[in-house]
């Protein structure tokens, strides 16, 4: 019986102690009509060996294609030490650190994580994570509505060049509270948000303005100008940031005159494997004044009875287990283990390591784009500065091209036609620091071939 440590003898002793004849008697209170039959749609159990064989086959079906796609999840290198330590039983199989004295490992680690996130984003405080980038934006929106004392509005300005799934998920998560996300269109030339387009909203009341840096098209926004405009209009600023980009870009806390009020985004680029989309984690940082409106776990440093330094979950009165229906959020379990990995990842790489990965990704994508654009019928969609993603316009159907390139074992990029039909045949490409010159050249010749064929 896998994972059950009882012998027949022990079972009998235990039943005797309870005073019943058989285990099934313990379910005696359950109405007979509710007893389940055989679970015939569940296969019979496999041994660990059979399971490993099965999953090796399943994995082989998917292969290991070359990844030139980002769109919110990035193929960065993670040092081997990161997950070897993260999966130590003491981190891997612990619960949320409710019993502080028996959880100082996790608690100190989260405190270190919070410290790393604040220096990276330039914000005052960080929590211990929310679910992912999309949910971090939703929580930031909810938080901004609670926190903005200058505005009574439940409307949020959200540029169309913010990750479309983030926008959609945020809508799902906030609409129950009658919060409205108001679109701002991007500039057709640059793909970015121009001050001109903001002018149309002047005088209206918004709880917050969202800025994604770099935006979903991979381009850099004029964050200073937008931040100042928002603050001048009594709106808070929510920065959706790529934390790896933060290592070389101006951190959210320094945007404009006063800095963003909330920084959120997805922590995936900092040590989480792509893993089909998760587990990643949502970043949630803010200015000190807003900390009591922040959702999720927060760890604080304190002392024990003998004055020795130690760490605890703090400000718990914000949370659902205390405040119940009046909590800042319903979040309970977060993405702890990925935070653990991320903290170790940042410790091993340090700022220099992150900067190296960020700038090499920037340069690799630039090189890819340059080589692509040398092909007839391929050009950059926008006149803008890219971090490590760029929108490319094709003269052939994007979907067909992407499909054709799978033959060369390449994921060619993200087809934008569904989310941005107005762009025509366009794909969003990305070459992280992991892509070699050889692989970039492979991409370019596969693209040349594909364009000839479709």
């Amino acid at each position: 019986m896998p994972f059950i440590p009882h012998t027949e003898n022990e079972i009998n002793t235990m039943l005797e102690s309870i005073g019943v004849k058989q285990i099934d008697d313990l379910f005696g209170e359950v109405p007979k009509a509710l007893r389940a039959g055989e679970l015939s749609n569940i296969p019979v159990g496999l041994s660990e060996m059979q399971m490993t064989q099965l999953m090796t086959e399943r994995g082989a079906q998917d292969g290991r294609p070359l990844c030139f796609i980002g769109a919110g999840a990035y193929d960065h290198y993670v040092p081997a030490a990161v997950w070897q330590i993260t999966t130590r039983g003491e981190f891997y199989t612990a619960y949320t650190p409710y019993q502080a004295e028996a959880s100082q490992g996790t608690l100190q680690l989260i405190y270190e994580f919070q410290s790393m996130m604040t220096t990276l984003t330039g914000m005052d405080v960080s929590n211990a994570s929310v679910y992912d980038g999309a949910s971090s934006l939703a929580e930031a929106v909810l938080m901004s509505v609670r926190a903005n004392r200058k505005s009574k509005s439940k409307r949020i300005l959200v540029p169309r060049n913010v990750n479309p799934t983030y926008r959609s998920a945020t809508h799902t998560l906030v609409k129950g509270q009658n919060i409205e996300l108001v679109d701002i269109d991007y500039d057709k030339e640059t793909g970015g948000i121009s001050l001109d387009s903001l002018k149309a909203f002047e005088g209206e009341d918004f709880a917050a303005v969202v800025i994604q840096q770099p935006n979903f098209f991979g381009s850099l926004e004029d964050v200073d100008a937008i931040t100042d405009w928002a603050h001048a209009n009594n709106a808070l600023v929510i920065g959706v940031v790529n934390p790896l980009a933060m290592s070389i870009l101006k951190p959210a806390g320094l945007w404009g005159g006063a800095g963003a009020d909330i920084a959120c985004g997805d922590g995936q680029p900092l040590g989480a494997p792509l893993s089909s989309g998760g587990p990643y984690y949502g970043i949630m940082c803010c200015k000190k004044a807003l900390v009591r409106q922040m959702p999720g776990r927060i760890v604080g440093r304190t002392v024990d009875e003998e004055g020795k330094e130690g760490f605890v979950l703090t400000l718990q009165a914000r949370e659902q287990h205390i405040r119940r229906s009046k909590a800042t959020s319903n979040i309970c379990t977060n993405q702890g283990l990925v935070v653990t990995a991320s903290t170790i990842h940042m410790s091993i790489l340090g700022a220099a390591g992150l900067e190296n990965a960020a700038s090499q990704s920037h340069l690799n994508t630039a090189s890819l784009v340059e080589k692509m654009c040398a092909i007839d019928g391929v050009e950059k969609m926008f006149d803008s500065v890219s971090f490590h993603e760029t929108v490319i316009k094709l003269n052939k159907p994007a979907k067909a091209v992407v499909d054709a390139m799978t033959e060369a074992n390449i994921i060619a990029g993200f087809d934008l036609s569904e989310a941005y039909p107005e762009l025509g045949d366009a794909i969003l490409v990305c070459a992280t620091e992991q892509r070699t010159t050889k692989e970039i050249d492979q991409y370019v010749s596969a693209l040349t071939k594909a364009l000839g064929e479709v």
Partner: protein, 481 residues
Amino acid sequence: MLIFEHSKVGLHKKNDAQLTAIPASMRRGESAALPEVSELQAVRHYTRLSTKNFSIDTHFYPLGSCTMKYNPRVANSIALMPEFAARHPLAPEKFSQGFLSCMYELQEMLCEVTGMKGFSLAPMAGAQGEFAGIAMIRAYHDANGDHERREILVPDAAHGTNPATATMCGYTVKEIPTLADGDVNIEALAAAIGPQTAGLMLTNPSTLGVFERQIQKIAKMIHEAGGLLYYDGANLNAILGKIRPGDMGFDVIHSNLHKTFATPHGGGGPGSGAIGVSERLIPFMPIAGVIKDKESFRWANKSDYAHSIGHLSAFFGNPGVLIRAYVYMRLLGREGMTRVSEFSTLNANYMMAEMKKAGFEAAIPDRFASHEFIITLKKQAKELHVTAMDFAKRLLDLGYHAPTTYFPLLVPECLLIEPTETESKEDLDGFIKAMVQIQQEAENDTQLVTTAPHTMPVKRLDEVRAARQLDLSWTVTQTTG
């Protein structure tokens, strides 16, 4: 010592990459103040730090409502296989059949074991599953033009995420009292139900560790009033394979895969709160599910769900967790499911019986426990001034993680004890022995207990100071100053 305190400025070297394409005004001035340490220093720091944790792999961890069972190591190694770990979420379907087939089968198995008609793996934890469920209930009423239903009923024993979720979905919460025997107060419930009722959230067995015997009646009452039933599946471990929420009449449920299906809790997550629905809620399911077309698998799109509540996450929940749950379910198989509930129930009832014999007071003494049970230490608190928290802390000294304390809120000085099916009799007996020892200490050497723990890396921590003098991150000035 913090990792920052090992840091030495100047240790790490930057490549001299040319970032001339990025205007200086958009670039960062100073580098982030991350630690600069060698790989050995980082490895040593975090290896040592890890040993300051209790965990399933090192300790019996009978945390009630949390199902701290063994997390099979093979699930970890499979999830980290490069084909799964390096798979991009937006990979074309050609590179996805292996992964998608696992997710599809996981959906199917969850349907079968819960008696639901459709399953979505998108929610990233129990609370997000609750959100998705209540959002679907709201979308359902909305689709029926039934806009006046603004209230969600929640028993007072419910987990905090239940009322918090209802609020997040724009509902008001009405609490329903519980009887001394642990069942819902049906009269109070009847009085609370009305045309404003959108639905009821229920855990069964409840967080009091007993099975709600009136469940069929309750379901009928809610349904007849036009409401829907939500099942908080945090306690699914108690009934797995023996009783199916779908058969009890629930319209929507979530299952904490990080509990019942043995994925690790990781010191705070990640989890998965996969949700199952009855037939009528299928059109409302969140994006994205996996659909089987003949022999191949594809992602569901909006047209598959007429009234989808939409996305919950950027991609597809937490696939790394889902792979682990899939592996676990296939290892157990059909026959293993029932074993889970049987042995978790056996363990809980054995512990309760033995602890009662040892003189402890069970909160609900005359019923069978489910997979967990509650001990109340109100007598000890009153007579010896030793609280449930004191017992909890002293247990740490004796090598046992503390049970859940002070939850559910309605039982005074309570310990909610959930041993799970993967713990051996040897360990259950050890825990009981430790409790008896603490009881004796409480009587004879009270201070030993009230000032515990004594053997942990720190003694009891000053939580008030932590909340008042907020110190939430390290800054350089702290060491130089």
